[in-house]
Amino acid sequence: MEKRVVFRSAWLPYALLAPQILVTVVFFFWPAFQAVWFSFQLQDAFGLNTEFVGLQNFAELFRDSRYLESFKVTAVFSLLVAFFGLAISLVLATMADRVLRGALAYKTLLIWPYAVAPAVAGVLWAFLFAPSIGIITYVLKGWGVDWNWIIHGDQAMLLVVIASVWKQISYNFLFFLAGLQSIPKSLIEAAAIDGAGPGRRFWTIVFPLLSPTTFFLLVVNIVYAFFDTFGVIDATTQGGPAQATQILVYKVYHDGVKSADLGGSSAQSVVLMAIVILLTVVQFRFVERKVNY
């Protein structure tokens, strides 16, 4: 059964769609087209000399070991952010689901960080972990840890992962909680009567039934790690030290805006565009089918 609204007028549907299409064209298609166009050019910073160089920018990109390194960094970063973001919020949601008294207060507190802008979240954690003055640094130094993320790449990575995960937990928490609450109590009770313990009940009933939510959140979290963490990184490590936290989207910004290399930067955003299109297609085509709805 399909529901279909039929417009009698020939122009009305287009007119109604026009504002949305206009916004999409101006803010999405036009810049995307420009990125593709610039990616074939070599241009000086001021745009005084422009030369068409074909695929040279792309060839250079893939010859550049730094760029390939950035792929690795992005993969590690987004996997860490997505995994910990989902795992921690699932634990919290399961806990909050069982709380009887004061549940609203817990939930509110857990949702709070979502209202914080990524850059602010970054600065907050950067202060806590600041090499000279941070409170956590002070504790770590007391334990004999040489904490200085300005120079140690893995510590810098840890910092941006913590800040990004902390910021995203609230969002995941909300969806998981809603998902948990929509699971019929009768199923769980039936399993309990059959003698399944809490762990078994969770893994064999709750977790599979949550899979649509988990899948949805996985997509959202990976996209978040790919793009929205820009603020966190710009406010803390700025891709350093020695590019240890330079994820792809930060490199696009860095090379294009800070280094005024428009051609190289555009080529990178074209690659990034392709990755995202591919990722979305793969996820919705193949992964979604296996999800237990």
């Binding site: 241009q43 745009g47 005084l48 000279s132 300005i150 120079i151 350093g240 020695a242 590019q243 280094s259």
Partner: protein, 436 residues
């Protein structure tokens, strides 16, 4: 009440009068925040008050890279400012943009304003002059690297606080004693590449790149993997391992580590003095940067950092006249002295240096002339005149990335500097190709 009305009428009348004369507005984009910004605004308003034809409008556009990016975007869209403050690493990019800028020498000559490049400190003028001897931008705020020590920490470690280490050998001895006395951070630095590659090279009279550090052409390559460079960076990595050197970051993060007393020794901009003066609760002194005493000719002279003013192209002749008038005003010795004494930047003309010296300022503020002395320690050579590398904003980052890898112990000094040269040269080739 009546007086107030009268005053208001007069005020609006004078406003109209001013309007009738139609002042020519000159936009000046800069990156001086905080106290420096206030001082800069005062320069503009003093100039505006000194004449009626022109009005300089100073606009803060964020950090150096931010204002440069903003100006480039504005230029592409046809709305660039008349005057733009650009930091020294952006110099080659600006020079390469021939259609986007007008050489300062030409602006001054066209407007028949007095302008003598010889009046400037050679280390300053050389940085902004092309091989034909034409000054392309107007030196504005210049600083150099100085070596700071915490005298109280020296005393505590049993060292003579009046004798700062002069060489890296003496430095190592002092560092060992400071560490033994329980100093948590012995030494740190701000601006690692500017200090330990660029100024290090000039101070030891070795090239940073071929073609006179890029000043004689864009077909230059980096030479910062020479045995002396490798030895110096390896020494720092060794210091880091021993806990004598704490890396603070790529910009001025080291300043706070010194002024808070955390680090006992520090290399940073001469411009850091104002902040340290305010924050430090201990005795300190500024000194020449240490050198390796087995290198012939060292110490040579240090090179500048800071920024200069570029005049952008495509404006009306009347506006250029105003720009020239304003720059001539800024070059006056008394204006320069005011700027120098208030900010800690180097007095960039010999006349203003002399004037400040005669005023007794240096007697009251020991160390305030240390930067000038270091810059003019010897007559600059091809290696110590300055540097001019295309896209050096990017090039410097490459160097700093490799330095970070070396200091973290991930690479040895030779491998890191070789990689910095290789990657740096790729950037230079790209610039050469885009600016043919």
């Amino acid at each position: 009440m009546r007086y107030k009305t009268l005053a208001a009428v007069l005020a609006s009348a004078s406003l109209f009068a001013g309007h009738a004369q139609a002042q020519t507005e000159i936009q000046w984009w800069h990156s001086m925040g905080g106290a420096l910004g206030e001082k800069l605004n005062q320069l503009a308003s003093d100039f505006n008050a000194s004449q009626k034809e022109y009005k300089v409008n100073a606009v803060f556009k964020g950090s150096y890279p931010e204002s440069m990016t903003a100006a480039i975007a504005a230029f592409r869209a046809g709305g660039a400012p008349h005057i733009l403050q650009v930091f020294e690493v952006g110099t080659a990019t600006m020079m390469g943009a021939k259609g986007a800028i007008v050489p300062v020498a030409k602006v001054m000559a066209d407007a028949k304003e007095p302008f003598n490049p010889k009046a400037y400190l050679p280390a300053v003028a050389g940085y902004y002059t092309n091989t034909k001897g034409e000054m392309l931008s107007f030196p504005f705020n210049s600083s150099t690297v100085l070596f700071y020590i915490n005298k109280d920490a020296f005393k505590k470690a049993g060292l003579d606080p009046e004798k700062a280490p002069r060489t890296w050998k003496e430095f190592a001895i002092a560092a060992g004693k400071l560490k033994a006395s329980g100093q948590s951070c012995v030494y740190t630095t701000s601006w690692p590449s500017w200090t330990h590659i660029e100024n290090f090279s000039a101070w030891h009279n070795v090239p940073i790149g071929t073609k006179q550090n890029g000043m004689a052409g864009t077909d230059t390559v980096f030479t910062i993997n020479s045995p002396l460079h490798v030895r110096h960076i390896a020494m720092l990595a060794d210091f880091a391992k021993k806990g004598w050197f704490t890396y603070a970051g790529r910009t001025n993060q080291g300043d706070a580590k010194f002024s808070s007393g955390e680090c006992a020794m520090f290399t940073g901009s001469a411009g850091a003095q104002a902040g340290i003066k305010k924050a430090a609760k201990f005795g300190w002194s500024v000194n020449f940067i240490p050198y390796h005493d087995d290198v012939a000719g060292a110490p040579q002279n240090s090179i500048i950092g800071g920024a200069s003013l570029w005049v952008m192209g495509g404006k009306k002749p009347a506006e250029y006249k105003g720009v020239a008038k304003f720059l001539a005003y800024l070059a006056k010795p008394e204006v320069q002295m005011d700027w120098h004494t208030a900010t800690g930047y180097v007095p960039i003309t010999m006349a203003s240096y002399e004037m400040t010296r005669k005023s007794g300022f240096y007697d009251k503020n020991p160390g305030a002339d240390m930067a000038v002395k270091e810059l003019t320690n010897k007559a600059p050579t091809a290696n110590s005149k300055g540097l001019r590398f295309g896209n050096f904003v990017q090039g410097r980052e490459v160097i700093e990335e490799e330095m970070e890898a070396i200091f973290a112990g991930k690479k040895d000094a030779k491998a890191g500097l070789d990689e910095a040269v290789k990657r740096g040269n790729e950037i230079l080739r790209k610039f050469e190709a885009a600016n043919k």
